[in-house]
Symmetry: D2
Subunit: 427 residues, 4 copies
């Protein structure tokens, strides 16, 4: 699917300046250090092979002169805990450590790179960023959807922006890739670095994105509440809808963390709804036997049960049927038809799981990714996404990472743990 | 509306035993100590008047012999943080301090008092209650709706229950009052004490019920999340539905705590929806001027906008139109018709605000109320609800407290604080 | 102790302007509305009597012209959750609701009113206060100790400050009272309003100060941790020191909230340390019988065990012996001498309980107090402290409130609840 | 240092039974699947080499017959968030999924394996474990120090325990290794599996132990409080001592998460205290220039400044000088000698960071490790520790993992992030 050549990182050219992080201030990482894509060996395993990812980190020689470099950061798409932490760490790494003088915050996502659509950028300073790491959301605002690459590169030129850091998900990174292509067409010395942001944890080469642990934490709180509700009424059923359009990581994480769920429905598993051994049947049995049950459903689960509508939202994603509401009504009907008492409590925390401030782990992760993006940009790398592979931060060619979704590996420990703690059928 | 005679507490008779809490272990409160109903004086004020409420607390002489008394506790209706704390403190006050030998936990609300409907009671012991104060919900289960008083009193007789502690809201206390009347008809020496439970904080003579502070805490977290979402998208509007069928305390509390809301819609204020100065108009102005807005709506708000359906739920409450979903759609239409961009984020945390464990304040309050209920029951008081008036816990005749709803006083500091921090019109 | 005359609030003169809060925006409170000091009746009770406190709230006629009034707010002494909330609500009530144009934040407590000592004030604006309600501490800084009243009034004059809002504890309010006296001596039209800040909850006429509920919450978390530690080792003893120099409210609150403590030592109870029935003896019995124990000690407890040193700290308070460390060592020695295994875990969370952001209740309370202080100042009241009595916010003459400590009433429900849930002797 | 042979896992013999997890319930992992020890390539990198670790997971064939197998779990040493989650998941994986009938909980650590020292084991059942995943600590109790291997194996024999799961740190695993040796000496078919527990995150081959993320979370809360305190007083210095005897992970994690620290002192960096460029000098400069500073010190930092005392604690660890108290006093003296104002706030949260319930991430991790230990034991593996390498759970020979401490790699992203956000010298 990917080849070794795919994993080579583009660069604007040789490092022309000594990094101000040396000597003796930070440890440099040389360009040839790489992390193997595969680390599993044995009969039937892929084996280490030739594929590897360039390690992230500060380079000894950098491409841009800190004194005269302007860097801009833009946050796009839906919110994720850690966005403000990224903005703040980008600022401080540039200003304190590299001695860069001008860091711009782009307002309202890619709209802010189109003067006809959005607000002008804000020049970041200490007063602006000082306390933002304690806030959820993004102080720069965000928006969905793209803008014409030509318009955005015009803007980079007119504002004198040398490095653009694009924080966002798949759509955002596709946008970033387009900007790079336009930059190359014009032969400009401008770097574009992607920082992966996905509450759903579904970007390839990023085994854990910032925000995910916070969302799992918030999600499990809701699940615990639903469990309490299910126990608090005769034949109580808690039904919780959690985020996860294409990947069930949050649902799985909240399930294993809470240990209370009996069923976890995710996009990766096209579960049978009706019939013997189907979801409704299994739920009924559980309720009749134990007097209560708890169901977690990811928003993207069960779409196989519906005809495609073809509708799309502002980000260009297929509009899904609301599986939570559907299941709520369907379960009620099922029990009603069988004349079995049911006290169904439906919880749809929606944005609650993603609008919270980042927890400690996500604060650490977003800080590290932010600083790595700064290092990559200053070193003249471009078209590169900061990835997280095994235990290392790496550079991934944006073009290789986009257009695909990372889903739950059903053989993974995480999903096996879901099976282990729910006892649900391996549909 | 109420007369002095209304506020006299019924008793089963003279105290026949010395309380095991004395001498020198606890401070006794004599029956004649009372708290004035009114404490405000001045031109136009009600003045102290003659009305007062009996102070709660341990009595020096008690009616029941701890050695041979059986006490039962039942939790009814919807959940509220603090229920398990009440159960646990009831148990420990009885066992450790009064030396009572047998405390029963009734399962699944009033159903558990009807052998034909519910599960048999559990005899509480230390292993059962040891860690429950850290859990939300009720370990005894709950249910909505009543059972025939005669059946329940039959059960009290057959189980030898001398004191019944009924933890619940208006419906529950009406049920408790019915039990008392049946007990009196039969001439039995059984005490029934009510402990007020209402997440909506809407029981008269209880200025702050346990669970309310926790719900306000949870509610404000959601409101903060909605604010973050509103800021995170162009013309972002956060719309949060919070609990509050007949009273807007949680909405008001979350609004003042968060300081982020621009509009707080509560049952007490029949706000105009359309037209100049109406809600939609005011919201539109705010969004156009400031680029974002935050709306909190209590579930019982805006019912004046709909025809009554006459439908009722399991607790006998009128079924309401879902004002949150209605406003969500109505706001979208309003902006669409005017061709104004809108990014509406709807958050309906539903049970999230009431299924959490109790916070410190509610833990203190539920402990105090539980112990007061034990004191009242052991002293042979009956048909009494534990109230919270000024800074004191008091006894309120159940018949006087039920059948009415405590609503937000629109002249109160709390509602005035809402007006102060939202700047919303005084509709 | 206090007389009716003591409770009269000073005023700079008749209201000269219509309040911009009317007509129809807020509800006005007239000066003659008062809350009875005593609300308890019955044999041996004080009875309502003549004493009452003036109700706080917006007045219809105000003394200061909003257009030309400068208001300053100063935060002094130790931190308390809610300080930033007070600053922010003061700002918004003045700017949004009264239309005042200039609000100053005094830096570093009273030092900031002495140009020789502190930093110049900051003119508050929306950018400065926007997000501070989510932060613990005070963005204005603070300091302990006073400054000469004459110097501070010089500063008020030179800066054109008309209203000074002093947020602080006993020492701060004594300082405020001194400023009023200097203002009166000079015959100036300047108002000084006190807002009570005390993590220890020990200011008279303020039955619950903002910050206290947050501290009780934080305190109970530590207590729960200590309980976990005590259970986690053979003969484990958790010893937790909590704040409370002269009053044991935090210790008592954390004890009742957690329900885990076996001993709560507070300044109000000069417990016996040694001998039969003394603390060490009782602790030993508990550990031997049950295998673990939990002790909460307020920092001001047990000072009767030591000679007075006469030393004083920067705020002028007597320096206490560290009772936590003393007990830790004394308990160890006691068990060592008796050759009983002991695993003592000492937890001194110190500033942890007061540096956290305010919880929802404290956010509500600090908002209300802040707005009431603004109303009082704008109405030309002076030398008045915002009090909290029964369920109402009131005005208390500062001179009447200062110089005394509010302590735990050992007959109160709270302390009785401590006795109820610890089972400790009523020393 | 380690050789390939070192990484081979011992087994009691061939799998004799089909695993009840199949067919179709869970995915099996075959014994030959391994994770490369090194995944980094490039000039100067170690390269993948031959070393690899056996992958954890359920085996298709198992050694023990679930129907007749007795499993025991023991928790030893200091507390760590997640212990109860391990106990609970071990129980449910065995009972629900493997169909094992008897699971024992050993009381008070290894003492419970010595009848002369500790309490008898408890047979775990659903009532016992049902809610423990929400509690900090360990419901089984714990203790420090070892017991004679012969005595413990006698106990395993007399109680008919086939599989022993030892949850603990280095000392515990050394004990487990000793038990294995005794078992081998006696030629018994008993498996011993280690589950790593270390709040300090310092066990080799375990890049993240459960409890660590929770401790970092709790630690950063304290750090934020200290920052608030430092800002709240003139020349305020917050000094926070956090856990970390031999490794500074918690200090580093809390520093990066909070972003507020100016100095992070860890055991891995023998910083200079005095003189130009030393810690005191750098701190003084920071305070004079910025008016406040924040210092985090790990408990094991700075021991190079003291003579070794040779004393040891109950776990056999060298007793350290209290670096927090030492620095507190030393800093005070330094500023006093230079006549510079100082408001030092010392925070030693001690057990607070480890006695909290596990956060979502740690709940997930402890569940996974617990189930992997069950799989390993049931498959007849022995002398194996559950490790966490790259993104996989693995088996590590206990003998290879013990006796060494995993420390902060000063070239790692985490430590580099500390340098990046503190700006402290690279001593």
């Amino acid at each position: 699917m990917t080849t070794a050549r795919d994993l080579t990182i583009k660069t604007l050219g040789e490092g022309r300046f000594d990094s101000p992080l040396g000597p003796g201030k930070r440890d440099f990482v040389s360009d040839d250090r790489r992390i193997l894509l595969e680390d599993e060996v044995g009969i039937g395993a892929a084996g280490p092979g030739d594929l590897s990812l360039e390690k992230a980190g500060p380079r000894e020689r950098i491409f841009f002169d800190p004194q005269s470099t302007t860097v801009a950061v833009v946050t796009c798409g839906g919110l994720s805990p850690g966005l403000n932490n990224v903005i703040r760490s980008v600022y401080y790494e540039l200003i304190h450590n590299y001695g860069v003088q001008r860091v711009l915050g782009i307002r309202e996502g890619y709209r802010g790179l189109n003067p006809a659509e959005g607000s002008p950028p804000v020049e970041l300073d200490a007063a602006f960023v000082h306390d933002i790491h304690n806030l959820g959301g993004t102080v720069l605002g965000s928006s969905r959807g793209g803008q014409p690459a030509a318009v955005m590169v015009d803007f980079l030129e007119s504002e004198g922006i040398d490095i653009l850091l694009c924080v966002g998900g798949d759509g955002t990174q596709r946008g970033a890739h387009g900007i790079v292509q336009e930059i190359e067409k014009r032969g400009l010395d401008k770097a574009v670095i992607g920082i992966p942001k996905t509450i759903d944890n579904d970007i390839p080469y990023v085994w854990m994105s910032f925000g995910f642990a916070s969302a799992a934490e918030a999600g499990q709180q809701v699940v615990k509440g639903a469990h309490v509700e299910a126990l608090g009424a005769p034949n109580g059923v808690g039904l919780v809808k959690l985020m996860g359009r294409n990947a069930g990581f949050i649902a799985a994480g909240a399930a294993v963390a809470s240990q209370e769920a009996n069923f976890v429905l995710v996009p990766e598993v096209p579960f049978p709804l009706e019939g013997d051994g189907g979801f409704l049947d299994a739920l009924e049995k559980r309720v009749v036997e134990r007097g209560h049950a708890l169901v977690i459903v990811a928003e993207g689960a069960g779409q196989h049960l519906f005809e495609e509508t073809g509708e799309r939202d502002a980000s260009g994603n297929v509009r899904y049927v609301d599986i939570g509401v559907f299941l709520r009504d369907r379960i009620k009907r099922h029990f009603q038809e069988r004349d079995i008492e049911l006290n169904l409590k439906y919880l749809d925390p929606s944005y609650v799981v993603r609008s919270c401030p980042a927890n400690a782990w996500d604060r650490i992760l977003s800080d590290r990714m932010a600083r790595m993006a700064v290092h990559a940009g200053m070193a003249g790398k471009t078209d590169a996404l900061i990835g997280f592979h095994h235990q290392s931060l790496v550079h991934v060619p944006i073009g290789t990472a986009v257009g695909r979704t990372r889903q739950l590996d059903l053989h993974s420990d995480l999903w096996q743990a879901v099976l282990g703690c729910t006892g649900q059928p391996k549909w």
